[in-house]
């Protein structure tokens, strides 16, 4: 059923209906999120500006020590701190407007598998986060790494960025669905998100630092960290998929 155009259904009254396939439902939900973003540009601008501001704070923080300190060693970790804070901002927003405009209730009225809502929302969050990273990572490089020349393996940074962002979008979607219904939701999301994301963050920061510094045997560390981060992604996405039905129906 997920393969094509859906199935034809004939009701008792003789009306021919076309029941959309799961994949079509997914595409429709995803398109809704993307269209909304293209029209308002609300999330991308706020996340982009926030990322830039974090970079400026880094500038002040590292300004005094940049000469003496090996920036390469901390660059990976700083980059991930930037991504975590930026994604917190974006994830908070992602369900905010659904709630305010009553969109979520509309979606829940449609007879569809709730995990499709999860996958669609996680995908749109993933796309927004990746879009912000496309801007903020070069900026990070421009501000902090041009003077210290990272190793040639710097290009491999794409892999941990992708794996880490997938996991953050997945678990973040689940958690932001929970926190949108709570008091003080902004803080609540951070309180839940940061400890639960910690293993992924640790693995991704390790992989990123390995390729930025590029010391001997960095590939071993890189692949091991990447495999662990990937494992976290798989487990957490499956768990999110299973648990989402409970969360969104509550």
């Amino acid at each position: 059923m997920a393969s094509g155009k859906g199935v034809d259904v004939r009701t008792a009254g003789g009306v021919a209906l076309r029941k959309p396939s799961t994949f079509q439902q997914y595409k429709t939900l995803l398109r809704k999120d993307l269209e909304q973003e293209f029209r308002t540009k609300e999330m991308l601008t706020s996340m982009g500006i926030y990322a830039l501001l974090v970079l400026i704070v880094y500038g002040a923080a590292l300004g005094q020590t940049a000469q003496a300190l090996d920036v390469l060693q901390v660059a990976g970790g700083l980059l991930w701190a930037l991504i975590v804070f930026t994604s917190l901002l974006g994830l908070n927003r992602s369900f905010g407007h659904e709630k305010e405009q009553g969109c979520l209730e509309g979606i829940l009225l449609v007879p569809l598998d709730r995990s499709v809502v999860f996958l669609a929302k996680a995908t749109s969050n993933l796309l927004f986060l990746l879009a912000v990273e496309v801007i903020s990572v070069p900026l990070f490089y421009f501000f902090f790494l041009t003077s210290v020349s990272p190793s040639e393996s710097f290009g491999l940074i794409v892999a941990p960025l992708f794996v880490g962002t997938v996991g953050m979008a997945g678990i973040g979607t689940l958690l932001s669905t929970i926190t949108v219904n709570t008091r003080g939701k902004d803080v609540m999301l951070a309180v839940l998100f940061v400890p639960l994301i910690f293993p992924l963050l640790y693995a991704c920061a390790s992989a990123t630092t390995a390729v930025v510094v590029g010391s001997d045997g960095y590939l071993d560390v890189f692949f091991q960290s990447l495999v662990l981060a990937g494992g976290y992604d798989v487990i957490m996405l499956l768990l999110g998929w299973v648990l989402y039905d409970f969360v969104i129906s509550a």
Binding site: T179, L196, S206
Partner: protein, 256 residues
Amino acid sequence: MSETKRRAAKLPEAGQWPDRIAPWMLLAGAVLTTIGFLMAFFYAGPVNGAAVDGVELIGGQMVSSKLLLSQKIFYFHMPVAIVSFASLAFAGYYAIRFLMTKEQRFDTCSKIGMEIALLFVVCTMVTGEMWTRFEWGVWWTWEPRLTTYLILMLVVIAYFVLRSAIDEPERRATYAAVISVIALVDVPICYMVTRLIPSSIHPVVLREGGMSADMGMTVAVVMAGMCMVGFGLYRLRFRQVRLAQRVEAMKEQLED
């Protein structure tokens, strides 16, 4: 009707048989842990703490190879840590039961399990920090076990912050159960990740395995005591919460 009655009879409720033994268990646990405390100092022999390689500065003084008294913390640290795991697993079990049945009673059980877990997790952290200070010479290091425990503690605290931020009981129960299931999966991953990723900064801590008979005996006594304390606290707290819930329900009935 009889079906619902039968189901209600199987649910944990205040006044069932464990309530009768709970105070005695708590008392016995207190006695056993006190005995264990004395045994740790008078019965179990002194043991070399973490291997001190050469000479190190510990607690402001130079130490070569020393019979560290701080090793005594181990007799409390390990049982407390194990009881904290047990109560977390217990809370997770009831969280899953809740998601399966949507029965509020299981949510109460899960929440109280978490409360007991928080108590024991904090005790583990405090004893662990004291031990780290004197054995490794630092208050804190990002070592796998410490890191995992810190994350675990933060997740348990986040669980209660989340609970306090939601008013509707059904929604609160569901969200809390979901978070405890995620935490149950997340914490082992956290341990694995921090352990498996090699890092040049962390010192590799080698400890010779195995305990002598007197050490094992002391640990066993404290362990039994701590398990009893955990169980007694859980049951007494459960009774208190359930009675309060029943009083609330009665008040509502009277108002109608």
